[in-house]
Assembly symmetry: C2
Homo-oligomer: 359 residues x 2
């Protein structure tokens, strides 16, 4: 590596510190980062020059010596675009600030569109939301259903009728901005990890039309050997059969755990046993994953009325039953914050990760 790589790393460290802890003086930064005041002063100068950081004026803190000047990440002067292609029957986009606050929204219904028509609608949506930005845009993050391979190409997304779509390049060509494309569950887990105070070892299960998950292991995202990490919907659960799945197999997780199946089962059952059973099946599927990865948190994202209650309780109980009890290895099963916007936020978070080196 070159000295310039070290420099870039140090610039990222400064931004990460300001992003996570908040505004502070150069002297404070120097103490926390273990660098000299001179070095930090130089790094901050460069970040101010590039517009990534701003001075906020005197700290107002009363103590001997020259008043400290606070500096911070340019929270309001920079924006990111998040796009969610996995919502039910609608394409959604938003302008967000660096804290993940949504400043503007745009939507387009899918209608009966599929394939290239969807692609066209996505480009129109992106054009609309980019126009709504009120500050320089760092980049565009896109959360899409299906599998995304290297280079931001959507390999397969059956729900959108997509096959081998070079989505990153299409959007980058149309906007001239940096673009990052990920699976929607991946986007969601990054939102939880960064904005939802998730720990370094967590799995987020996203329940929508199907079911998928995103993973953070040792503080790192997991992509998989074929970019298909998180594809859990078509794993056979248990050893006592189950319904026939649309994929042709029997007893897939998705046959118990998906929004349409749950709504239908609830309407038919007249009680909440489908929620309990779905939670149990999800717990059965997740037990080996939690054990092998030694995860600390299982996060559920999707419609609150389905997930928050008997289903969550059943996941927790099933995991407790099927894992070895270890008091010091407490496992948390919780509902994600703000599931409706989690993919928008997560897509934007990935822009922050890549453009600012902010974790």
């Amino acid at each position: 590596m070159l000295p310039a790589h070290g420099r870039r790393h140090n610039l990222s460290l400064v931004l990460q510190m300001l992003y996570t802890v908040g505004a502070m003086s150069r002297a404070d930064l120097a103490r926390r980062l273990g660098m000299s005041k001179v070095t930090v002063s130089d790094l901050v100068a460069e970040l101010i020059e590039s517009g990534h950081a701003v001075e906020l004026g005197p700290s107002g803190q009363v103590r001997p010596g020259k008043p400290a000047t606070l500096v911070d990440v340019n929270r309001t002067g920079l924006q990111a675009i998040g796009v969610d292609l996995a919502a039910h029957r609608v394409l959604r986009a938003a302008v967000l600030d660096l804290d993940g606050n949504i400043l503007a929204r745009a939507e387009r219904p899918i209608g009966d569109d599929t394939g290239d028509a969807i692609t066209q609608r996505v480009l129109e949506l992106v054009d609309e939301i980019v126009s709504a930005a009120t500050a320089p845009i760092l980049g565009i993050g896109v959360g899409t259903p299906g599998i995304v391979v290297a280079g931001g190409v959507v390999d397969t997304a059956p729900n959108l009728g997509w096959r081998d779509v070079p989505l990153r390049d299409l959007i980058a060509d149309a906007t001239g901005l940096p673009v990052f494309v990920v699976n929607d569950a991946d986007a969601a887990v990054h939102a939880d990890y960064t904005l939802g105070n998730g720990g370094d070892d967590l799995v987020l299960v996203k329940i929508g039309r199907g079911v998928g998950c995103g993973l953070i292991v040792g503080g790192q995202r997991v992509r998989g050997a074929h970019f298909a990490a998180g594809e859990i919907g078509h794993v056979t659960v248990g050893t006592d059969g189950g319904a026939v799945c649309r994929c042709g197999k029997t007893g897939c997780l998705e046959t118990w755990v998906s929004a349409p199946r749950l709504e239908q089962a609830l309407a038919t059952a007249g009680d909440d046993s489908p929620l309990r059973e779905a939670g149990e099946r999800l717990g059965i599927a997740l037990a080996p994953v939690v054990a092998v990865l030694d995860l600390a948190e299982v996060v559920l994202s999707g419609p609150g009325h389905l997930l928050d209650g008997p289903l969550r309780d059943s996941v927790e109980q099933t995991l407790r039953d099927r894992l070895l009890a270890r008091p010091e290895a407490e496992l948390t099963v919780r509902i994600a914050h703000d599931s409706d916007d989690i993919v928008l936020r997560g897509a934007a978070v990935l822009v922050l990760w890549d453009q600012l080196g902010v974790v």
Copy 2:
């Protein structure tokens, strides 16, 4: 980070390149690493000075220009110690060269020892094997059953009667050498990854007295939130019951898949159905893990006569049945090379990783 960190990184890059590709000239190194010839020359000089690299003389290649001088990692001039505390009824140690070749061995039977007596035998064993080294020792790697937490402390290892044993410090104090302590399955998976040409996304299942596994995800080892990644033996498998486990639960993976249980079942059954059933249970447990992590390889390590045959075939078939078929995402189920020595080699590999920065 400081310029010195960059320097250390570049020293590691040189060693990694020489370790994986083999001897080459400084000019070749410069081309492959994208550095100037002067920088590489300087880095190599430092590595020669420290004994980590050696000049091998002219390349012998005939072509115009000054003859190249080959340099390489000091493959025969440096050694590492590997220690395996997970073997059946015996403590084993070896001296290895940088290619993972075993140059000398030592063993001590466990007998009826437990607890502190075992600790004492380990220190005697280490002393014996260190004396057998014929070159400077980079460090000592130890593969132990149980859970190893930060600082090389063995949190629990019931089979050795250990609880909260500061193994790394005990051995470091006794020898004055750098010591690295890991779980035996972790050591095994590193041996397979580095010496057995394993890919960046693989799980190794180690079957001995119990059953555990080691994971490489995205080219990185997985530790877990509580340093307990890989503890799969006490996960309940399937939904149709099973034998009572020694942990008190029912249907744990270990009740089908462990060496003692398999030997006993084979003796009773008179055919190989226990192997087939064990493979099926292991496949059921691993299916969600393979799917969620999008793994490319499942490696089985343990007694060949148990694993290589109906059990392996059954694991593969069960995974095929329970996962969505994707031709481009071929999953390999294979037997590890040299299972008897895999923990010794893996422990030594971790010394290489940490001391030379060699991946």
